[in-house]
């Protein structure tokens, strides 16, 4: 358990590049807030959807930058510091070592999403029912965790492929397009909806919208369950990729471990 918690937090401080106050506030808090305002005003102009649609969707999505890039850094930055070999020499289970690293990023994402939802609601005048707040907290947490495991999967790819940041950048754009956060899902072609269903954020955005609409936690549960399943699937994929790449590195010397 300590490896998961204490280890995860130290690894977060060691490997996450955006922990300085200026980077954190600028990149993770202010940036997503302006994105929310941009899409809300664009939506008003085009009459596509209500402010609520954009505020809630973009608040859930706000976690993605910290979680996707953070999850990627959590693994692939080991290369930058030349520490991968020492991590691989640990006798502890890899699943705990690496999956534990997703937890601080998920916490980070939750904080950012909550901030974006609060400030966005205050600025644009959205009233969130008090009774929906516990459910929203759970939804944002599940969405952030799912996103962090998605980032960890990309980070695992970064062990094998040097240009993983390209994949992370494209993934952020895909989340913007395919998760139904800014473009209503029923406006998207069927194949895009299918791809979006396999991405983090999609289902938690839907659950959050139901909660803000006052439908109650029961109505949000199916979407929340799907988001949870997506997160678990990415955690399994990340763990499998890490295992495969480690085994491959021992056989083929494919990782520049030291």
């Amino acid at each position: 358990m300590r490896l998961l918690t204490v280890g995860g937090v130290i690894a977060y401080r060691a490997l996450f590049n955006w922990t300085t106050p200026s980077m954190f506030v600028g990149t993770l808090l202010v940036g997503p807030l302006f994105q929310l305002l941009f899409f809300a005003f664009l939506g008003r102009q085009l009459g596509v959807a209500s402010d609520s649609f954009y505020i809630v969707g973009n608040a859930v999505l706000a976690a993605s930058v910290a979680c996707v890039f953070g999850g990627t850094m959590a693994v692939s930055n080991e290369r930058r510091y030349g520490t991968l070999g020492h991590v691989l020499l640990s006798p502890r289970p890899r699943t705990l070592v690496f999956l534990g690293r997703a937890v601080p990023y998920a916490g980070n994402g939750l904080l950012i999403a909550a901030f974006t939802l609060t400030v966005g609601s205050l600025v644009l005048g959205l009233r969130v029912p008090l009774g929906a707040i516990p459910g929203l907290a759970v939804t944002l947490a599940v969405g952030s965790l799912s996103c962090a495991f998605f980032g960890l999967t990309l980070g695992a790819l970064g062990l094998r492929f040097r240009d993983v940041w390209l994949v992370s950048n494209v993934s952020i754009s895909l989340l913007l397009l395919l998760t139904g956060v800014n473009v209503p899902a029923d406006h998207l072609p069927a194949w895009m909806r299918v791809v979006g269903g396999g991405l983090p954020i999609t289902h938690s955005a839907e659950a959050a919208r139901r909660l803000v609409a006052g439908d109650g936690f029961g109505a949000a549960m199916p979407a929340l369950g799907k988001e949870f399943a997506v997160g678990v699937a990415y955690a399994v994929v990340a763990a499998a990729l890490l295992k495969v790449f480690e085994a491959e590195s021992r056989r083929r010397a494919s990782l520049d471990t030291l």
Binding site: R2, L3, V6, G7, I10, A11, R13, A14, L15, T19, Y81, G82, T83, G85, H86, V87, L88, L89, S90, P91, R92, V97, S249, R250, R251, R252, A253, T257, L258
Partner: protein
């Protein structure tokens, strides 16, 4: 006798592929049949030129690489099939600036690796304190590693490698790039470890370091062990030779080539020491090449000229010089 490390016919071949349209496969035999027996508590040196196979050998012994063939055991555990058991018992330290989390303090680096290496929480604080004291970083442990000198980083590497009190410590060129004072402190630390019963496998380029520290030394070149023994035993490889050292300023490649083919000359090399060159010529003990060498250096400004008995370094040059092939590792 209990062995800490035993390797039998250890081999490692790297396969690389270059090109897409017309791919070309290249096989490089980095280690070609290494046999090693290192006793518990022994300080064992592995010497060799760049690309000799030292690091590849260590990576196979510490479980980071699977041998292409052959077998190896550390503390009685197989390095391929019993990796967790091996990893619990080994520490690994390598030279250079990388391998630490620069954004963290030394204390946090050690805390994290203590978690990774399974040091029980109740013992971590005491153990980390002991190690900071051992490597002389007490008082600096809360500073970020990015501000550390290379010597301090190297000492932190050693502390990290010792966190879980390993039975076997692999030191891969730990003093590379370290200033002489820091290198001496490192040697003292390593000698202290061996005195406490830790088995140490040390790779180094520095002969004096190997001669001062190691109980036995193996010289590896071309992926094969070329010689093995104590420092005194290895010096026999240079028996029957004499060594001429000439301090010079401006020896050309063509002059060096001329010296190489003089009758009786076995090896010659030039090292840069400060602003001067030091030309070392090994020759048969029965042949005095000094006059011929000085004649070939006519026109070159010369300093001190010394004739001396062979050292471990001369023996090493003799051993490596007769190895058949040098292979990149």
């Amino acid at each position: 006798m209990a062995l800490a490390i035993e390797a039998r016919d250890l081999r490692r071949t790297y396969r690389t592929r270059t090109g897409w349209l017309n791919p070309r496969r290249v096989e490089i035999d980095a280690v070609r049949g290494v046999d090693l027996d290192v006793r518990r508590g022994e300080l064992f040196g592995l010497l060799g030129p760049n690309g000799a196979g030292k690091t590849t050998t260590i990576k196979m012994l510490n479980t980071l690489l699977i041998p292409s063939s052959g077998s190896a055991r550390v503390c009685g555990f197989d390095v391929v099939s019993q990796t967790r058991e091996v990893r619990r018992r080994i520490g690994y330290v390598f030279g250079g600036d990388r391998g630490l989390y620069d954004r963290l303090s030394a204390l946090d680096n050690l805390r994290y690796f203590a978690e990774l290496y399974g040091v029980p929480a109740a013992r971590q604080k005491r153990r980390i304190g002991e190690l900071l004291e051992l490597v002389g970083l007490t008082g600096r442990e809360r500073e970020r590693v990015e501000g550390y000198s290379r010597g301090m980083r190297q000492r932190l590497h050693i502390a990290r490698g010792l966190l879980h009190e390993p039975e076997v410590l692999f030191l891969d060129e730990p003093s590379i790039g370290v200033d002489p004072v820091a290198a001496r402190e490192l040697r003292n630390t390593v000698a202290g470890l061996a005195a406490t019963g830790t088995t140490v496998l040390l790779t180094t380029h520095y002969m004096a370091e190997a001669e001062e520290l190691c109980d036995r030394i193996a010289v590896i070149a071309g992926g094969e062990i070329q010689a093995l023994g104590t420092a005194d035993e290895l010096k026999h490889h240079a028996e029957g030779r004499r060594v001429l050292e000439v301090q010079a300023f401006g020896v050309s490649d063509s002059q060096l080539a001329g010296i190489d083919v003089l009758p009786g000359v076995r090896e010659s090399s030039v090292d840069i020491v400060g602003t001067a060159q030091v030309l070392t010529v090994q020759s048969d003990a029965t042949v005095d090449v000094q006059a011929d060498v000085l004649r070939l250096l006519d026109g070159v400004r010369l300093g001190r000229v010394t004739a001396r008995q062979p050292t471990l370094e001369d023996a090493y040059v003799a051993i490596v010089g007769r190895s058949p092939v040098e292979v990149a590792a």
